[in-house]
C-alpha cells in the first residue's frame, strides 16, 4: 500500500481520473451522471485532484450559462499510470 498515491486511491477520484484518461475533456454534467455522486461530493473530489495538479479546470460560458470542463494534466496521466503499475505489482504479489 505504501507506493499507492493516496489522492488517486480514493474510488471516486480514481474513476474521475480514469474517465479523463480516455478522452480529451469532460464536463461537470457528464461526470455527475456517470459517477452518480452529489454535486458537492464531485466538486470536492475534483478540487482535490486540481490541487494535486492532476486535473486542469476550464471554465467558460455557453451564452449566459457557466460551463466547466476538466482535462487530465500530464502529471495526472503519469500519476495514474504509476498508480495502476503499483496496483498491478501489489496484486501480483511483488509489491512491498
Amino acid at each position: 500500500m505504501t507506493d499507492l498515491d493516496r489522492v488517486i486511491h480514493e474510488p471516486a477520484r480514481l474513476r474521475i481520473l480514469t474517465i479523463l484518461s480516455g478522452v480529451s475533456a469532460v464536463d461537470f454534467k457528464f461526470l455527475l451522471s456517470a459517477l452518480a455522486l452529489s454535486k458537492g461530493n464531485l466538486s470536492a473530489h475534483v478540487e482535490r485532484l486540481e490541487n494535486a495538479g492532476y486535473v486542469e479546470v476550464l471554465k467558460s460560458f455557453n451564452g449566459k450559462i457557466p460551463h466547466t470542463e476538466y482535462r487530465l494534466t500530464a502529471a495526472g496521466r503519469e500519476a495514474l499510470a504509476n498508480y495502476w503499475s503499483a496496483l498491478d505489482r501489489i496484486r501480483a504479489g511483488t509489491g512491498r
Binding site: 480514493e10 474510488p11 471516486a12 480514481l14 474513476r15 480514469t18 474517465i19 484518461s21 480516455g22 478522452v23 480529451s24 475533456a25 469532460v26 464536463d27 461537470f28 454534467k29 457528464f30 461526470l31 455527475l32 451522471s33 456517470a34 459517477l35 452518480a36 455522486l37 452529489s38 458537492g40 461530493n41 470536492a44 473530489h45 482535490r48 460551463h67 470542463e69 496521466r77 503519469e78 495514474l80 499510470a81 495502476w84 503499475s85 498491478d88 501480483a92
Partner: protein, 252 residues
Amino acid sequence: MSPLPSTYKPSQTDDPREIAKWTRVYAQNRTLGVAVFLLIFLVLSAAIGGFSSGAERASHNGNTVMLAVCLSGLIVALAVLIYLSVPAWGFRRMGRIASALYAREGRVTVTRTWAPGRGRLVTGLGLGFGACLLASVLLGVWGYLPDRYMQPVSAVYMVPFLVMLTLLQRPAIGWITLLWPALYGLHAVLIVAGAPIVFLGTWSVLNMVIPTIGYGLLTSLLGHMFNRYALHSVKQLARTEPSGDDRREGGT
C-alpha cells in the same frame, strides 16, 4: 492516450480501467446528429422533387398561383440544401444538432489530431468530390451513364471520400463510421456482379438514395446503439458506493 500499463488485460471487463475505453467509445459514437442530418437531406430532396413536378404540372395547366407556390418552395428547399452542403456551415450545424441531442448527458470530447495543412486537404477533397459528383450527374443526364451503373460509378469516388472523411476526423469519431463506405462499395460490387438490387422506372431514384442516405442512416443508428452500450458500461463501472473518504469531504 490512456495511460494503461503493459500488464493490463482488456478482457478484465470489471476492471475500472475499462472506464477509459468505454468513455472514449461513448465520445466517438455520438452519431445521432448524422442520422438527423441525413433525414433532413432526405426530406429536402423529396421536397425538391415534389416542388419540381408540382411546378411542371402547374405550368402545364396554366395554374399561376400553384406555379408561384411551387417555385417559391423549390427555391427555399434548394437554398437550405446548398447551405447544409457547404462543410463550414453544414458540419457546424450538424455539430450543434449532435450537442443538442446529447445535451442531457453532458459533454465529452476527443480532440482530433489536426495536422497543419489538413485544411487545404479538406478543401481539395471537397472540390474533388464535387467535381466527380457533377461529372457523373452530367454523364447520366447526357445518357452516357445508364441508371443501372450510376451507383457503381459513384462508388469510385464516394467510397474513398467517405473513408478519407473518417480518417481525417479520427480519433474524434469511431471506426464504425467506415461501415458506410464498406456497405456502399459492397452495394456497387453486387450491382456489377448482377445482383437483382437495381430499381427501375419511377423507383430508380432509390438506386442512389439507399446507398447514400440508407446506409448512412444505418451506420449512424448502429453508432448510436454502440454509444448507448458504452454509456451503460461507463455508468456500471464508474458508480461506486460512497467511501468513508467521501463522507469526510462533506458529501451527502
